[in-house]
């Protein structure tokens, strides 16, 4: 019974600390702290860091550690942004092999039947020559060098009018057809463009070009075929468009469907977790070393995958995937400056995950196995527990939670920098777990404790910001809080142990 009481006292302790911090903030900076936006952030950050904390708690319970969590968050973010990357291409675009402005010639990289004499074309996308709108006068066939350099590949030769004779020659670029606007209806938000565009659909985009200068890019909401032409309803302001403008429809190309992308990233995380677990259980490597290598490796791979450039899918998924993180469940609204109070969907997901984790840990035989092997792996093995399997499961839970966190953090920012995204996240996660009662010796842990521990870490950071304490002290303060928390825990344990010893 004393063991349970100890657990309850610990949770009460950090809850008390958390509530105290909240009260101080509410009293000293009420508008900064209690406003709807800040509260939303409190919930959101607790959810995002919290899933990482829950993941690492399982590893800590098996008396291991995972230092690679931050890098997994980064890798998951990079992979997701690659898998879900979106590009827009004209449906009828053709790659250009070369242009010769003096001769008004465009040689395509391939043969095509799509262009006919009289068509309006747009040449663009070259690094060497300016974009231009041209009229096609004649299409012919010619030969261009193939891979071996022999003039055997067939390609179309376009004789055009309108290329500026002073433009430099170029060996790249794209040519696509332009379709004149027939009618614009700004009130209904529709544009009628020539041609049957059956492939055009919602979320595609159209680039509208004014031959006298000017461009607009608008998102398509829907299409309707009318008498051989296409009426496009658009998202956005059509006021600038007018007759004489030309439309270049751009089809949206998403690298992978969302569920496939998500499953792939989770699958990769699962695999990494299995690798961690196998290295620890079968090759008997130290978890510290294995996951330290992971930390370096996964970040390195992330940077390599995107050439160390910032990456992200912007607001492409604003109304779908991003909702998992940023979607708001509105509660109520107060007058300025407090604003609207809402809870992010991510928080609901987090609570769901926490409940699952708590049930797994405390109510299933698997949780009991993990607690036992965390305390004494040999005794657990001698009692018939498959300690290798349970340890691997711990590492898998951690990396999968890392991937979930990666999704949250990617949705949170427009773009992420692979050189620094996720830096130190493992320390926040471990700190939250330790504050919440997970002993690094293994065999002890409470999911509720991790939740509160995470909230405490997030609140501390908020405290530092809102109280205008120097940023540089952030790590110092967090370090002190964790130290105090752990020392208090040890002292409490010793006191309880003394009482128990004297009883038997």
């Amino acid at each position: 019974m004393n063991v349970k009481i100890l657990g309850i006292v610990k949770i009460l302790g950090i809850t008390l600390l958390l509530v105290t911090l909240w009260m101080i903030l509410a009293f000293l900076v009420p508008e900064g702290f209690l406003n709807g936006n800040n509260m939303f952030n409190l919930f959101l950050r607790t959810a995002m860091y919290g899933v990482l904390g829950i993941g690492v708690a399982f590893v800590i319970i098996t008396s291991g550690i995972d230092l690679s969590i931050g890098s997994i968050v980064c890798l998951s973010g990079v992979l997701l942004s690659l898998f879900l990357s979106v590009s827009y291409h004209p449906g009828d675009g053709e790659k250009v092999f070369a242009i010769d402005p003096q001769q008004q010639l465009i040689v395509l990289a391939d043969e095509t039947e799509g262009f006919k004499s009289g068509d309006l074309l747009r040449y663009y996308g070259s690094t060497q020559a300016r974009s231009a709108v041209v009229t096609l006068s004649k299409v012919a066939s010619t030969k261009i060098p193939d891979e071996a350099g022999e003039l055997t590949a067939s390609a179309s030769l376009l004789q055009v009018e309108g290329l500026d004779g002073n433009t430099s020659t170029a060996r790249d670029g794209v040519v696509a057809k332009l379709y004149p606007i027939k009618r614009v209806d700004p009130e209904k938000g529709t544009v009628l463009i020539t041609g049957k565009h059956e492939g055009l659909a919602a979320r595609d985009q159209i680039r509208f070009i004014n031959p006298s200068g000017g461009m607009e890019q608008i998102v398509v909401a829907g299409t309707e075929l009318i008498d051989g032409n296409t009426q496009v309803s658009v998202d956005g302001d059509t006021g600038a468009l007018g007759e004489g403008w030309l439309a270049m429809p751009l089809l949206r190309d998403q690298a992978m469907p969302v569920p496939v992308a998500l499953l792939s990233v989770l699958g990769i995380a699962l695999l990494l977790g299995v690798v961690h677990g196998l290295l620890v259980t079968k090759i008997h490597l130290q978890p510290f070393v294995v996951t330290l290598c992971g930390l370096l490796l996964y970040r390195g791979i992330s940077r390599w995958l995107v050439n160390d450039r910032d990456t992200g899918y912007g607001n492409e998924y604003e109304s779908s995937l991003s909702l998992l993180t940023n979607g708001k469940f509105e509660l109520f609204t107060l007058g300025e400056p407090y604003g609207t109070y809402s809870i992010p969907y991510a928080f609901f997901i987090f609570i769901f995950v926490a409940i699952l984790a708590a049930v797994f840990l405390n109510k299933t035989i698997y949780g009991r196995y993990m607690l036992a092997l965390g305390r004494n792996v040999e005794a657990a093995r001698f009692s018939g527990i498959n300690t290798d399997r349970m340890t691997i499961i711990g590492y898998v839970i951690c990396t999968v939670m890392g991937a979930l966190g990666g999704l949250f953090f990617l949705n949170y920012s427009d773009s992420i920098a692979p050189s620094s995204h996720g830096n130190f996240f493992e320390l926040y996660a471990i700190a939250a777990a330790v504050l919440g009662g997970c002993s690094l010796r293994g065999g002890e842990g409470s999911i509720l404790g991790v939740v509160i521990g995470t909230a405490l870490m997030v609140t501390l950071k908020m405290f530092i910001n809102l109280m205008k304490i120097s940023d540089t002290l952030e790590f110092a303060i967090i370090g002190v809080v964790i130290l105090v928390g752990v020392v208090a825990d040890e002292l409490l344990k010793k006191a309880v142990a003394r009482r128990q010893a004297s009883k038997s």
């Binding site: 035989i365 698997y366 009991r368 036992a372 657990a380 001698f382 065999g443 003394r498």
Partner: protein, 513 residues
């Protein structure tokens, strides 16, 4: 001279070296020692015996300076002394040698002897003095190793000698030895007794704590018995008998210590043919145990007995040969498969292998049965768990305030009962026991013997490893004796004598009954 009252007075004319008068010590909620008296003469071997929880360790810790007494006084050479720290105790010449030795296994013998008080020359450690001086003390204990030998390379028995040499090098006048023979082979124990007798001749006094009453009888000049934190009685050399000691320790007559009865043997429960263990792959083991049989496995330390049990349990899977349980051939590659086949093992290292020491009684009792008793999808069946826990605590008579007590705080005997209870809940066909009563007091020991008898009666096949001759002779229907990895012989009940066991254990042959 007759002396069996509780006053703790010395019984011979020897000069009193150390005296404890009315020592009391309390912890929150418990009175560990209540007015205890102890008297130790110069050059005397005094044995301190008592059940677990009798207060022996508490008293010794006070003498060694680990904790101060709440009441009473300690007199050294007739003068009252305050032993405020372990350093102070050492300075007074009182040295405590723990059951688990306190040596740095990564350092040399000499370095260990002078650990903490290294002689310096020019600010650096004076290795040659260490070597010379430690050699002197090593000779005193008859340890024939070079001071440069790494302690980790020595056997436990010899490591113990290093500890004694270390104590002598700080001029110990009183050597307190706590369960010194629990990890020693018979030969090493004999050697220790020789050294103790030698120390006595030199005027060093020894306080000897042990549960092995046979040793106590052999060594002691005087025996002080404790029970429930108080003096229970004194026995002079000629009064020391097994019965007298047990009666004073337990406070009642323990008749029929070993409850062995003749039983009906059933079918063969365990058949082992040409079994080769990873540790001794060159020997093939052949034997069988019938249901209802209690078979002892005797031998010296290092004979390979624990290794054999661990192979039978799948901890270190066999390299060859066959194991059959109730006629079914088995592939035992892990404890999981052994348990599924109906085999259970109570391991040698109770705290490290047998129990999860920081979990509760209930959690330990149910640990092996969790998979079998689970509810759908892996959920714990808390009601079944409680039932097993209640049943086993009652059946094994585990002394614990409640089922949620952390096992670390139970006595050795009760811990062992929990280990056995865990396996009994699995209803095994074959029960393997490795040193089942090591470090356990008399009362708990006899309970475990009674349990073994009960289980055999109900048809369980029991194979138990023991280094206590009395236990082997007392409980076994049959005995296997091992020597350096092979079974040198099997002894029937009639052939079971100390000589035969020792002969076979040292690689010899048994003499005809």
């Amino acid at each position: 001279m007759q002396d069996s009252d509780s006053s703790g007075e010395c019984d011979s004319g020897g000069t009193t070296l150390l005296e404890c008068k009315g020592i009391g010590k309390s912890f929150p909620g418990v009175r560990a020692l209540g007015g205890v008296n102890l008297s130790l003469d110069k050059g005397q071997v005094l044995s301190l015996i008592g059940e677990n929880g009798a207060g022996k360790s508490t008293l010794m810790k006070i003498l060694a300076g680990v904790q101060p007494p709440d009441e009473g006084e300690i007199l050294l050479d007739g003068n009252p002394v305050e032993i405020e720290s372990t350093r102070a105790a050492l300075d007074l010449g009182i040295s405590l040698i723990h059951q688990e030795l306190n040596l740095a296994t990564n350092l040399s013998v000499g370095a260990n002897v002078f650990l903490g008080r290294e002689p310096l020359r020019g600010g650096l450690i004076d290795e040659s003095t260490i070597r010379k001086e430690s050699a002197r003390f090593l000779e005193m204990v008859g340890l024939d190793v070079s001071p440069d030998t790494l302690v980790g390379d020595l056997t436990i028995g010899r490591q113990q000698m290093v500890e004694i040499a270390k104590a002598l090098s700080v001029n110990a006048r009183v050597l307190i030895m706590d369960e010194p023979t629990s990890s020693l082979s018979q030969a090493e124990a004999e050697n220790l007794f020789v050294v103790i007798k030698d120390l006595r001749a030199r005027g060093v006094s020894v306080i000897y704590i042990s549960h092995r009453l046979g040793e106590v009888k052999e060594l002691s000049d005087h025996v002080t018995v404790m029970r429930d934190g108080e003096n229970a009685g004194e026995l002079s050399r000629d009064e020391v008998t097994h019965e007298a000691m047990v009666r004073l320790m337990v406070g009642r007559d323990l008749s029929e210590y070993y409850e062995r009865k003749d039983r009906e043997k059933g079918d063969l429960a365990l058949e082992v043919k040409k079994l080769r263990t990873p540790v001794h792959p060159q020997h093939e083991l052949n034997f069988s145990v019938a249901s209802g049989e209690i078979v002892a496995v005797a031998g010296l330390v290092g004979a390979g007995r624990t290794e054999m049990l661990e192979t039978l349990f799948g901890v270190t899977p066999a390299l060859g040969g066959s194991i059959q349980v109730s006629g079914t051939e088995l592939e035992l590659d892990s404890p999981i498969s052994a348990i599924a086949a109906g085999i259970a093992l109570a391991p040698e290292d109770r705290k490290q292998q047998g129990l999860v020491i920081d979990m509760t009684v209930r959690e330990n009792l149910s640990l092996a049965a969790l998979k079998r008793d689970q509810k759908k999808a892996g959920f714990l069946d808390f009601s079944k768990e409680k039932r097993i826990s209640d049943e086993m605590i009652k059946a094994m008579r585990v002394k614990t305030p409640n089922e949620d007590q952390v096992i670390r705080f139970l006595s050795g005997g009760n811990q062992q009962k929990v280990v056995l209870g865990k396996w009994l809940a699995m209803k095994p066909k074959v029960l393997l026991l490795d040193e089942p009563t090591r470090g356990i007091d008399v009362g708990a020991k006899s309970e475990i013997y009674a349990l073994m008898e009960e289980l055999a009666e109900s048809g369980v096949a029991i194979l138990y490893v023991s280094s206590e001759m009395e236990e082997v002779l007392g409980m076994a229907d049959r005995a296997l004796v091992m020597h350096e990895g092979r079974i040198t012989g099997e002894l029937t009940r009639e052939e079971l004598t100390e000589e035969n066991v020792m002969q076979l254990a040292t690689g010899g042959e048994k003499t005809a009954a």
